[in-house]
Assembly symmetry: C2
Homo-oligomer: 321 residues x 2
């Protein structure tokens, strides 16, 4: 009943900290002041139990990941995170679950100084929708549409860890499991790339699918060197510990179409490479380059075009060669 759900608000009512957050939870709407010379980046994501996380997953991890997903979108725009609203649908108001969920949520919110500006709680099957917003200097947002032939293609961090952890289940190392349950969105890197990268996207569905969004928006093609895809130490060690699901190397499945990486894929005009090496040392790996045309080519270690049979989602079928 309402009384119970009124209680829930107690777990999520905190005084806003940021100067642009004028009014938070407690009125008909929140009020935000966008500083002069800035634009607002806005994104919305829903995570549903049984689809994006296990119904019995640790509540603090669910809270963390829900906001991490949105932060990754803001990072890919080059935005400074500012705040978010939370729409929480719950089968019931379990105090322990709420305590832990809000703890995970505010852990990552605090790390990025984000205010919770409003919310709605409803009874129903467990799902979480977060609408997050961030500030970006006017005209400097990082879009998907600016890549040009000759631009270098880079990714932050390593790829495939989260997807491998999901398949490994309880056999995953702590480092791999953290990549799945507590992704660290590349917020600082995104802001650093403003004025330097020609196109940026965050990797949530896997590089193969997400890179295509850049190619389509920028009307270009790409050539990716498979041997250069960055792998973590634990990934190298554990990647063959799960039953082979694919005829080719399973590593490529995890790295290209596994999803849940929450790294940034960005394009750099060659003249920006020196800047990047100084400003983001050790934080990115070059994996290929933008080409004219519209095809996405995968190149193996011998330099030959690789034919990939990527499993997973619909949108890969018939592609990847």
């Amino acid at each position: 009943m309402m009384g119970e759900f009124d209680l829930i608000r107690e777990y999520f009512t905190r005084e806003p900290q940021r100067p642009e957050s004028l009014l938070a939870v407690g009125d008909d709407a929140a009020l935000l002041q966008v500083p002069p010379g800035h634009e607002l980046a806005m994104t919305v994501d829903t995570l549903v139990a049984g689809r994006h996380f296990h119904e019995h997953a640790a509540a603090e991890d669910i809270g963390w990941k829900c906001l991490a997903v949105s932060l990754s979108d803001l990072a890919a725009m080059g935005a400074q995170p500012s705040g978010f609203t939370l729409a929480l649908t719950l089968p019931n108001a379990n105090r322990e679950w709420l305590t832990r969920f809000s703890q995970g949520l505010f852990d990552i919110a605090d790390r990025h100084q984000m205010d919770l500006l409003g919310g709605d709680t409803t009874r129903g099957p467990l799902s979480v929708t977060i609408a997050a917003h961030g500030l970006v200097p006017a005209g400097q947002a990082l879009r998907r549409s600016g890549a040009r032939p000759g631009d270098l293609i880079a990714v932050t961090g390593t790829l495939g860890d989260a997807a491998l952890a999901l398949d490994l289940g309880s056999h995953a190392t702590q480092a791999l499991a953290a990549r799945l349950h507590r992704p660290e969105p590349r917020v600082g890197e995104g802001q650093a790339l403003r004025g330097h990268a020609s196109a940026v996207i965050d990797l949530s569905d896997g590089l193969a699918g997400d890179l295509r969004h850049i190619l389509k928006a920028s009307k270009v093609g790409a050539r990716i060197e498979l041997a250069k895809l960055p792998r973590s130490d634990d990934f190298r060690r554990m990647r063959n510990q799960v039953p082979r699901l694919f005829p080719t190397d399973a590593s490529l499945h995890y790295q290209l179409s596994g999803g849940d990486d929450y790294e940034l894929c960005f394009c750099l005009p060659p003249g920006q490479l020196e800047w990047a090496r100084e400003a983001m040392p050790g934080q990115f790996t070059l994996i290929g380059e933008i080409t004219a045309g519209s095809s996405l080519q995968w190149v193996d270690v011998s330099g030959a075009q690789a034919k990939l049979a990527l499993g997973g989602y619909d949108h890969f079928s018939g592609q990847g060669s």
Copy 2:
């Protein structure tokens, strides 16, 4: 699969129309430019099948009502609606349902010149979350906290129609059913009240509960004359066509705690009454006044305090006298 849900985006991708909508669906986040001297009002609401609407309700009505609920919140802040994001969770991608849902959604969006700026579609039990935003001149948002003793209390339109229509089911008149399925948020009235009303809230849970939010935020009490609660012609005619659920007059249940009115309740300093009569002729009804203290008193036609036994939600128990 993703392919199917990629298709869904086609139903919701339209070019933004408003000057402040810089970038809509199709990148990692949308971009919004808040004009100088303005603040952004933001609200989020989730509607879940089986709780806020019947799973087999007309899809165009669901689309309409989801946005109407958020528009009513923006109206209560005195904001000019600007845009929204949509998070849609669906058991499957039924083309006819999507066509009709998007039609109802864009019908009301167009009426208020709102842009759809972004979205997320997920497979799961049917639910809709809308995060809407609007513009308000800096410092002029209508809050809940400004009511002072002696202020007049008014409501727009009529109360109780939607709740009565819900109980009447297929016996409801067309006018009553429209109030339930196609509420008309008081957007124009909300903007007109800027600089005049001392406190405003939108009526979604019913006057008894919602007015208490103003009293609490403003640290005041109120006296409401029950005989003055505005009733529509159809409400007067049909209100006794449903089995009596309450010991007292069922009309009061519908008007005070039925919910789903989406009218505005506002407080007017007495000196603003003349302005209101000229600026909003026939668009509001005076129903009582703000008092010192913190109690909410109901007064019957004889001027005596009425003892109400309001059914419905938890938060009324032990109150209302």
